[in-house]
């Protein structure tokens, strides 16, 4: 039978979740109408369980005896006073609590529990109608992609009926072009006509039609997501043909710099660099944009989960040690009535993404120490969610080699219908229909499953029980096994793959992107030992096939062959894509500006602008100190200002550390992707230098997020950004070690298309020999001098100042990497000699924002005089607001106690004294005539900076 248990806080105990939901409802515009929200946890338990045992389960497991009460025979509260809405998961969506709850019931000595599902009931008291409640519920209480408001009472859907095998062929041999196109579209294969024709010809030679499974396997392997067709294809640009843009720009930097400490680049699941005598470090950043648009919590969580598996699947497996996150959202106050059809509200997306990343990262026990959050109108239908992970592994565990005869072993979670077509879905455009068509591409992760996998994989690695490992990511087993077997061949017995529920077809099992799975290749002699390691910690490890030397991928289901494809065709058969690219410089007007005497309000407005404002509400929800290695945290100083980069010591007892920074600026991308990319590299490197890092020990990662690159203008921007990657990184002497692109970030409403601004995230990782030399950005000692290092230009284009004035402008900041490199080297040397007390890089909001942040972080005011010489010689005198708010690159504000030593160390560079740190909290900026143009104090500045998100 099915028991239904309701659990609620006893009267007199605070219902924190209910209070939070009430707050969210109030902020939807129902303020004052709602008196109370109470939340009831509902458990549905199916099994042969009698009343004695259900009582036992309630009292000893489901209910907190101190704070909660329960009822298994009806409602736990008198519901007459409330309006109720109950939210449950849709059929087929994994309930994250089920597995551990079933285990816990067994621990109590109660057998016979078959299934357990949870639901949440919200009881709302107030002057509000049921139709309003349903509106509210849809906006904040559930997401129809994975959940529904229950009509009547929740129930447990019966498990699917068993699968009856029938081999399915797709008739493409006789298909016309029109039919081929239709097959690709209806099958969600996202293959072009040219590609479909190539597949048709291949099977023509074999004189047979492909099975559905073969066609799906090819579509997964050939997806933009897996093959990066745009970057690696042919591009016609400015009369030239670029054959493989990636190889000619990003990868070329690494080749030409040829750094000895780059261990493995652009080969494995993440880029690997040397750390110390014993260990290497690897780093990977991925995006999970489309899933996060549809289901922010699950999409972002599985984005995190996915990227953690990259270092875990690098070499023979790295232990994950740091997470990074960068998000781009639409404005959280976007009017509901302007929302494009089919999109979730940006605030909803933001909160969901933040919670998804939080719950995955925190539960995995990986500190989330670095990141950024940006806002722009054009991210409204298509947010960007970048998730990064750093791992550490012993030097002798960096190489992998599958051998024919090795067993194929899948470890971790079971396979379900979740995540089907993720790779192909993410390679296409999002539309207003996506939530219906591609709902199954979205998953909810189970971080504890992944934690178990990571713990046990590392143990098996250290016992040398397998020869190679990779993660099951996009494309599921089809991609993982396909890649591992690329140079040999494989046979897989699909019926052996453990499934979550009955009814999955052989193709579904093969292409499902169910989370938390890794694939290992194991010497048959070691299989028993390997299985014992996983069994001890309750992780499933299953042999599903064998690596062969047939150069073929052969799949079987219950003895019938369901696929037989040549590895060579699968991996190299993709016809080259040829695309045209053009770039025309857009023209954006400068916004009108009044010349004002008092710029204090502008500074406060900038501090309160969303890109600059405090992200403390996010940072604190992420455990940034777990694993005990945190040296510089994201919030710094007694008053907690925004740090530039985080510093982590990954090895106990060693002062050697890792610095992480990031550079990103979509506003610059609107004007010119070349300088956008150049600025992103400069910013990431500035952050490294600001905390005491050396750019000569720094590597970077690229993550391109672009609109639809089938459109020549979008592609032209991509080409320009790639050129900048080569020019700037090469001149700085900084290699790329890994990267990823996410194209087609456009949202189609049916009529219009919204494209994201061209966005490149540069993530920087640097090795710091002695982290006791790291410095923070908070002003420290009254009387110390404040300097600006680097030159300010008339570059307000794409600045946050222009953004709050409602314009974009044309004068996008440029980068001079030749001088920039020298400057960063000298500043590093000065910090390394402990000549700098505090340092903060000038980025969003320019010099004024950097000064204000340093000041309020330390709780100490400043006297600042603008220096007419802190600009290139010969240039006209810059207006006050330009000096204050221009976002020119390669600039730092530093606090120094010994002027002589510092200026000597920085000889030959543009270094100008701006003023000094005050004893009190008054913050004043004078222009060069001695007139005070900004007058404030650290409390006011900090309050402005905290204002936008303080109630989140």
């Amino acid at each position: 039978m099915i028991w239904r248990v309701e659990v609620v806080e006893k009267d007199g105990f605070y219902d924190a979740l209910g209070a939070n939901v009430k707050h969210d409802i109030d902020s939807l515009g129902f303020g004052g109408k709602i008196k109370e929200v109470r939340t009831v946890q509902v458990y549905l338990l199916d099994g042969d369980i009698d009343e004695y045992n259900i009582k036992k389960i309630c009292e000893n497991l489901l209910v907190d005896p101190i704070t909660q009460k329960y009822n298994y025979r009806g409602s736990v509260l008198n519901e007459k006073l409330y309006k109720c809405v109950e939210v449950a998961y849709n059929a087929g969506v994994m309930d994250p609590v089920e597995e551990s709850a079933k285990k816990a019931i067994k621990d109590l000595g109660v057998c016979g529990a078959r299934a357990l599902k949870t639901a949440k009931k919200y009881l709302i008291k107030g002057n509000i109608s049921y139709s309003q409640i349903h509106q509210i519920a849809e906006k904040i209480l559930y997401n129809k992609v994975i959940q529904h408001a229950v009509k009547g009472k929740s129930t447990i859907q019966p498990e699917g009926s068993p699968y009856h095998f029938t081999l399915k062929h797709i008739d493409i041999l006789k298909a016309s072009d029109v039919k081929l196109k239709k097959l690709s579209k209806e099958g969600q294969l996202f293959l072009s006509l040219d590609e479909m024709r190539t597949i048709k010809n291949y099977f023509k030679r074999l004189r047979r039609n492909p099975t559905d499974c073969e066609l799906e396997t090819i579509a997964q392997t050939w997806s933009e997501h897996c093959k990066h067709k745009t970057f690696r294809g042919l591009i016609e640009y400015e009369g030239k043909i670029i054959d493989n843009l990636l190889k000619n720009t990003v990868m070329k930097v690494t080749d030409e710099l040829n750094k000895s400490w780059c261990v493995s680049v652009f080969k494995d699941n993440s880029g690997v660099i040397r750390f110390d005598e014993k260990n290497n470090i690897c780093f990977k950043v991925e995006t999970h944009n489309h899933p996060s648009a549809l289901e922010p919590y699950g999409g972002a969580g599985t984005g995190m989960g996915g990227v953690i598996r990259d270092p875990l699947g690098t070499g023979l497996g790295a232990k994950p040690i740091i997470n990074t996150n960068v998000f781009c959202f639409g404005y959280p106050d976007y009017p509901y009535n302007k929302l494009p059809k089919g999109t979730l509200h940006p605030k909803r997306i933001m909160k969901g993404v933040v919670s998804g990343v939080r719950d995955y990262g925190n539960r995995m026990g990986i500190p989330t120490s670095n990141g950024a959050v940006l806002f722009d109108e054009n991210f409204v239908g298509n947010p960007l969610v970048f998730c990064g992970n750093v791992g550490i592994m012993p030097k002798n565990k960096c190489a992998k080699a599958v051998r024919p005869g090795d067993l194929i072993v899948v470890v971790g979670g079971r396979t379900g219908r979740d995540g089907i077509h993720g790779a192909t879905f993410s390679s296409g455009e999002l539309t207003y229909e996506s939530e219906n068509v591609s709902g199954s591409a979205v998953q909810i992760g189970n971080p504890i499953q992944e934690k178990k996998v990571s713990d046990t994989v590392i143990q098996a690695r250290d016992l040398a029980l397998y020869t190679s490992i990779t993660d099951c990511g996009a494309g599921g087993l089809s991609s993982a096994v396909g890649e591992m077997a690329e140079n040999m061949g494989a046979e897989v017995y699909l019926e052996t793959i453990p499934v979550k529920y009955k009814g999955l077809s052989y193709t579904e099992v093969w292409i499902s992107e169910a989370q938390e799975r890794m694939v290992l290749s194991v010497d048959p002699k070691k299989i028993d030992k390997l299985k014992a390691v996983f069994e001890r910690e309750d992780v499933e490890a299953t042999v599903i096939g064998t690596f062969t030397n047939t150069k073929k991928l052969k799949l079987f289901y219950d003895g019938t062959q369901v696929a037989d494809i040549d590895m060579k065709f699968l991996h190299d058969g993709l016809p080259p894509v040829k695309r045209k690219a053009v770039w025309n410089k857009p023209d954006f007007k400068d916004p009108p500006r009044n010349i004002k005497n008092d710029l204090s309000p502008d500074l406060c407005n900038l501090l309160s602008s969303l890109n600059i404002a405090s992200k403390e509400w996010i940072i604190r929800q992420y455990d940034h100190e777990v694993q005990g290695g945190s040296v510089l945290k994201p919030l710094q100083g007694p008053n907690q200002g925004p740090g530039d980069a985080c510093v982590t010591r990954p090895v106990f007892g060693s002062k050697k550390g890792i610095i992480l920074g990031c550079g990103i600026n979509p506003d610059f991308g609107k004007i010119d992707p070349y300088w956008m990319a150049a600025s992103a590299i400069d910013e990431a490197l500035r952050q490294i230098v600001s905390v005491g890092g050396d750019i000569n020990k720094t590597a970077i990662l690229d993550n391109f997020c672009w609109g639809n690159t089938n459109k020549p203008d979008r592609l032209g921007g991509l080409v320009r950004a790639s050129y900048a990657c080569y020019d700037i990184a090469k001149a700085y002497g900084v290699p790329f070690i890994s990267g990823k692109d996410s194209l087609n970030n456009e949202y189609s409403t049916g009529k219009d298309t919204i494209s994201i601004p061209p966005t490149l995230l540069i993530s920087a990782i640097s090795i710091m020999d002695d982290t006791s030399k790291a410095i923070t950005m908070d002003a420290k000692v009254p009387g110390n001098s404040v300097y600006i290092v680097g030159l300010t230009f008339n570059e307000l284009g794409g600045s946050q100042y222009y953004k709050i004035l409602g314009g974009i402008g044309n004068d996008v900041p440029r980068v001079d990497p030749v001088n920039g490199r020298k400057l960063m080297n000298s500043l590093f040397a000065a910090i390394n000699r402990r000549l700098v007390v505090s340092c903060h890089d000038c980025s969003d909001g320019g010099m004024a924002v950097a000064l204000a942040e340093m000041s309020f972080a330390g709780g100490l005011g400043m006297n600042i005089r603008l220096d007419p010489y802190a600009m290139p010689v010969g240039q006209e005198l810059l207006l006050n607001d330009v000096q204050l708010f221009s976002e020119s690159n390669t600039r730092f504000i530093v606090e120094v106690s010994d002027d002589d030593k510092f200026t000597k160390a920085m000889k030959g560079h543009s270094v100008w004294k701006l003023g000094e740190v005050r004893k009190d909290n008054t913050f004043i900026i004078y222009d060069f005539t001695g007139k005070a143009i900004i007058k404030s104090d650290t409390d006011e500045l900090k309050a402005a900076w905290q204002q936008p998100f303080k109630d989140m």
């Binding site: 551990s100 816990a104 026990g365 604190r620 777990v626 005990g628 007892g653």
Partner: protein, 263 residues
């Protein structure tokens, strides 16, 4: 006794095990990681250890309630071994999730003495949010051997979503106070009890850590293992004083030195 052996208990979702073990190692003990399955399957024996540490993390994902499922494993599968461990005069520390486990297993505050009656709980923070922040803790006069002779006010980070301590009733709270079982209270910089954010969870009477009647079983929400080094403090770059150990280290030293002297 020369070799103080610490059993660091792990299970699905444990995640502060390495740093906790390192803190004990630095304090001179010999830590060993043991999966709960190794205890329930009797592959490892608690008798061979002097200190049991239940580290922070999200055991079983905090599903149903934080710490509950691991607490039940202790309670229903290895209760005998644990009760013997306590009777033998040995030590237990539960940090963060470990504290939640001890409370929900009835091992803290254990006024009744049966090691199974649940007398208090740790529940959702008033903010309904997980929060990572540094707090000031007042070392309240107590019988806890782990905090003997440490500074009056110390700084440690908290990182939890379910840290609001609630005793079953007024009577339990009174006995706890009378018997000096409250070990740490959240305070402000000056040492006065203060509200959010100084007390991040909304704990009753600002309680952050408690011990049992023997003073040997100790649980706390803040993370002492995250402040064993000078460089873990958020403001070390402003301090300009001689490098020293972090405030949390003395707790591990106390535990190890007690074990060395008494076991």
């Amino acid at each position: 006794m020369a070799n103080v052996k610490v059993i660091v208990i792990r299970t699905a979702g444990t995640n502060c095990d390495r740093e906790t073990a390192f803190a004990f190692e630095k304090a001179g003990a010999k830590p060993e990681f043991v999966h709960i399955n190794e205890l329930t399957r009797k592959e490892k024996n608690l008798d061979n250890y002097h200190i049991m540490a239940i580290p922070g993390g999200f055991t079983y994902g905090d599903d149903i309630a934080s710490g509950k499922i691991l607490a039940n494993e202790l309670k229903y599968k290895i209760a005998g071994a644990i009760h013997k461990f306590i009777k033998d005069g040995k030590l237990i520390i539960g940090i963060c999730n470990g504290f939640q486990v001890l409370v929900k297993a009835g091992l803290l505050p254990n006024l009744k003495g049966d090691g199974q009656t649940v007398e208090s709980t740790l529940t959702l923070n008033d903010s309904d949010k997980f929060e990572d922040r540094w707090v000031y803790l007042k070392n309240v006069e107590s019988g806890c051997i782990w905090t003997k002779d440490i500074k009056k006010i110390i700084e440690l980070p908290v990182a939890h979503g379910e840290g609001k301590f609630i005793p079953k009733d007024k009577n339990i709270l009174n006995i706890m106070k009378e018997k000096k079982l409250v070990v740490f209270e959240y305070v402000d910089q000056k040492g006065n009890k203060a509200g959010y954010p100084h007390c991040p969870s909304g704990s009753i009477e600002n309680i952050a850590g408690i011990c049992d009647l023997t003073g040997r079983i100790f649980g706390l929400m803040p993370h002492p293992e995250r402040h064993i080094s000078y460089y873990q403090h958020p403001n070390w770059t402003r301090r300009y004083k001689k490098e020293s150990t972090g405030d949390g280290f003395a707790i591990f030293e106390n535990g190890v030195s007690y074990a060395r002297r008494h076991l």
